[in-house]
């Protein structure tokens, strides 16, 4: 599927000239130009959108990154930075007239300072590799996306990724101290610092979550935190999803901020149980996983309080992990939820809306209605503690019309998220996927500010064009198409 809209700026790259210029600055093993070699880069984790780039650059040092960006700037060629390509919103999907700048070879941990509790890493370092390197010092890097064995720090920074522990330990934005950034013009910026509150505007906050639109990150300084002495998980099952949702609110109202608080509905547990044998209650409408960490005494104290709240909320069954092995088994099902759905359905489409926790039951009821409306199944996993829902819509890309229905289904969930007081994306980013729903979340004055910020960093709009922030023109078109309120006239037709 070609997602590029008609209303975004057009680029017309002279491919032979681009190749010559890149060959002049990069050794042969750092440059891919043949379609065959380019193919693996045509999409990220959102496989429904694909595009072949003109070239893939695999620089090995910052000097090369600067040279690539300067060249593209001079030639007016779009650049899409790429980490591991696990993104779920098409953020790293190439531009047909552009270059992919892969940071895969920026894979070194440059410094790990256990006393200062920080690590300076290159952007291509995998998320889990940081925690592994810190482990001998009793430290770890807190944000833990489920994709952490593969995804990179550069991608995490660009998406402001979260994980199952971010209610207590924060998102990427709370755990980054400093970035080194190369602008499209090839200028180097140091943003943030190892000391608190760097002078000037908080550009770190602006850059984290900016989806590769403002610059290319070449170095990341992350905070490391001490590993708690112990962690245990309470697993509770409920006969109704509404009860489970209320239990989440009750835990927080009781003054408890658990280390993790996750929910899975019946469709999700049914999919993962045969796969991981976690021992989930398959009769239950929903299960909750609630983790406590700290000293053994602290954990025991918190688990007692959590258990009391869950019992009062009407849990059918409550189990507490009795060993580290059991704790990991309880989590294994949650962590394997995406691949498990991948086993029972040829394709799935993962959504990422956030809603106020108290609207959860309402949202799940609406999704059940949408399953009938669009004739597709949906399993729900939920970072319940922070209101971030991941409905997994199952479809078959080979059945004509199914993807269009899945996309419309997803769009309706996102728009309902906004209507319920939430957001279209909690951690996966807008990318190309949710570009239309940005028109629902923001009005044109705010979108204009986003465009002005983009222009302050990248006046010619060469970094990741067409992503993250829709043009006002595009929103006008989408608004017109939307007059009939979700009831697309020709749902089988491609949108843009």
């Amino acid at each position: 599927m070609k997602p590029m809209p008609t209303s975004e700026p057009r680029f017309a790259t002279d491919r032979p000239q681009l190749a010559r210029r890149l060959q002049a600055i990069l050794p042969a093993h750092c440059l891919l130009l043949d379609d065959e070699e380019l193919r693996p880069y045509e999409c990220d984790g959102l496989t429904a959108f694909r595009e072949l780039p003109l070239a893939v650059c695999l620089p090995e040092n910052e000097t090369q990154v600067v040279a690539i960006l300067r060249t593209c700037y001079q030639l007016g060629v779009p650049v899409v930075a790429r980490g591991a390509g696990t993104g779920l919103s098409g953020g790293a999907m190439p531009h047909a007239q552009g270059v992919v700048l892969s940071l895969a070879r920026f894979n070194k941990i440059l410094r790990l300072d256990p006393l200062a509790r920080l690590a300076v890493v290159q952007p291509g370092v995998r998320n889990l590799a940081v925690s592994e390197a810190a482990a001998p010092h009793g430290l770890y890097y807190a944000p833990d996306p489920s994709s952490q064995i593969a995804c990179t720090l550069g991608g995490n920074v660009a998406e402001n990724s979260g994980g199952v522990h971010c209610l207590k330990y924060g998102l990427t934005v709370h755990n980054i101290l400093r970035l080194r950034l190369v602008s499209i013009e090839g200028e180097i910026f140091e943003i943030g610092s190892e000391a608190p509150d760097a002078p000037g505007y908080d550009l770190l906050a602006l850059l984290i979550g900016s989806e590769g639109m403002l610059g290319v990150v070449t170095e990341v300084t992350v905070k490391l935190v001490p590993k708690p002495e112990q962690a245990r998980v309470v697993m509770a099952s409920f006969a109704a999803v509404g009860q489970a949702g209320d239990a989440v609110a009750a835990i927080i109202a009781a003054g408890i901020i658990p280390a993790g608080l996750e929910m899975m509905d019946k469709a999700a547990t049914a999919a993962v149980e045969p796969f991981v044998k976690a021992g989930y209650d398959l009769e239950a409408a929903a299960i909750l996983l609630c983790e406590s960490d700290g000293t053994p005494g602290e954990v025991a104290e918190e688990i007692e309080r959590v258990t009391a709240v869950l019992t009062a909320a009407g849990a059918r069954e409550i189990r507490v992990s009795q060993s580290e092995g059991e704790r990991l088994r309880f989590w294994a099902g949650r962590k394997a939820a995406f691949p498990a759905i991948g086993r029972i359905s040829p394709d799935y489409y993962c959504m990422d809306g956030t809603i106020p926790r108290k609207r959860l039951a309402e949202m799940l009821e609406a999704i059940a209605g949408m399953e009938k409306k669009y004739g597709l199944r949906c399993a729900n996993v939920f970072h319940a503690g922070d209101g971030n829902l991941h409905p997994l819509i199952m479809y078959d890309a080979c059945q004509p019309g199914e993807w269009a229905r899945a996309e419309a289904f997803g769009g309706e969930i996102l728009e309902l998220s906004v209507a319920l007081g939430g957001s279209i994306t909690g951690e996966h980013g807008v990318g190309i996927e949710k570009i239309n729903q940005m028109c629902v979340q923001y009005k044109s004055p705010e979108l204009q500010v986003f465009h002005a910020i983009k222009a302050a960093f990248d006046e010619r709009g060469l970094l990741n064009p067409g992503k993250a922030v829709p043009s006002l023109h595009r929103c006008a078109e989408y608004g017109q198409m939307h007059v009939h309120h979700g009831e697309l006239k020709f749902p089988e037709l491609e949108r843009f």
């Binding site: 910026f189 190892e194 608190p196 509150d197 906050a205 001490p226 002495e229 005494g297 909690g426």
Partner: protein, 351 residues
């Protein structure tokens, strides 16, 4: 006062190019660069708009006194975890615009870490909404957090939503006699262990350490760390948070923000240090250039925190930015406040 009043005041100033000095309660008039422009008092635009304890957020208008917010949160056993100083009746807008956090900063995070959303009036008088009330939201650039600490130079924060947290169940304060170097070393070693340390304050050979969390965790840490248990430590931490502690004096004051493990700088005039060594206070009669240079060398920066306006104007309150970064600041400023009417010179003379 209504939102429209503020919108028309800024709109009119934009039309005529009149510089405005945004002012909440004026509790931080001592802070930042120059105080230029016609004063626009915004303290009367006040009131809590929404508070949902189980959703962990509060939304209030800019003029709302922090004291009112804290009292409302306390009724539900919650708090602003970054412990902002209130000084003389600080308002929410000024708190977020100045971005000053208190003793819990190193453990809980900075002001910006708790900002969820804002309603902003930009330099043209336009009302803009960014972020929201949910914990996670990555749609669009994170403008709300960018505004924390921007000292009103990008727009008037008319309304802010903040994340709130439960108050810790238990708290204890330990007292140790030790010199600066040892205190810094110990604090950083302890920081690498899973201990519930929520604040530190060192001054004149004494280290105060606050533990917060579950009863069991606080008790266990107290056992491990030793020290002398200080009863009724609440007043001590309040004095630190409000900078009423004798160590802060009343004269001009420099604040050095450093990587926490930085060994003692060996400069005269050290008054106190906080945040595990990440924030150190110096008496204000130091030559600014010496402190700025020492902080920079250590990988940090120095702020002329409290001084006569004339001295702030002369030296600049904040460490100067390298040229490409300053140019970027100018471009951002221009996109929010094209006629540069909002708090000119309050952050940097060039903005």
């Amino acid at each position: 006062m209504r939102l429209d009043d503020l919108v028309s005041a800024i709109g009119a100033a934009y039309a005529c190019g009149t510089p405005l000095r945004l002012r909440g309660a004026g509790s931080k008039d001592f802070y930042g660069g120059m105080l230029l422009g016609d004063v626009l008092e915004v303290g009367a635009y006040r009131g809590i708009v929404a508070y949902a304890p189980s959703e962990l957020y509060i939304t209030a208008r800019c003029g709302t006194p922090l004291a009112e917010i804290e009292a409302t949160l306390a009724e539900q056993g919650q708090m602003l975890a970054f412990e902002p100083p209130q000084f003389t009746g600080a308002s929410l807008g000024g708190c977020v615009a100045a971005g000053l956090a208190g003793p819990r900063r190193q453990q809980a995070g900075a002001v910006r870490d708790f900002v969820l959303g804002v309603k902003l009036i930009d330099g043209t008088g336009q009302v803009l909404d960014f972020g929201g009330q949910v914990m996670k939201n990555v749609a669009g650039y994170d403008v709300s957090r960018l505004l924390a600490g921007s000292l009103g130079t990008l727009g008037l924060l008319a309304e802010v939503s903040l994340k709130v947290l439960p108050r810790p169940v238990a708290e204890a304060t330990l007292l140790f006699a030790m010199e600066e170097g040892e205190a810094i070393a110990r604090l950083n070693q302890w920081g690498a262990r899973p201990l519930p340390i929520s604040a530190s304050f060192w001054s004149a050979g004494q280290l105060f350490l606050r533990l917060s969390g579950a009863r069991a965790a606080v008790d266990a840490a107290q056992q491990k760390l030793g020290g002398e248990l200080l009863a009724e430590a609440g007043d001590h931490w309040l004095a630190v948070r409000e900078q009423q502690h004798a160590a802060f004096g009343t004269g001009p004051l420099w604040r050095l923000a450093l990587p926490s493990g930085t060994p003692p700088l060996g400069l005269d005039g050290l008054l106190a240090s906080e945040w595990g060594g990440g924030q150190r206070w110096y008496a204000g009669d130091q030559p600014g250039a010496v402190l700025r240079q020492a902080a920079r060398q250590a990988g940090g920066h120095a702020v002329l925190y409290r001084a006569a306006e004339s001295q702030r104007g002369l030296e600049g309150a904040f460490a100067p930015l390298p040229e490409p970064l300053l140019a970027l600041h100018r471009r951002l400023k221009k996109s929010f406040d094209p006629r540069a009417i909002l708090n000119p010179g309050r952050l940097y003379a060039e903005l």
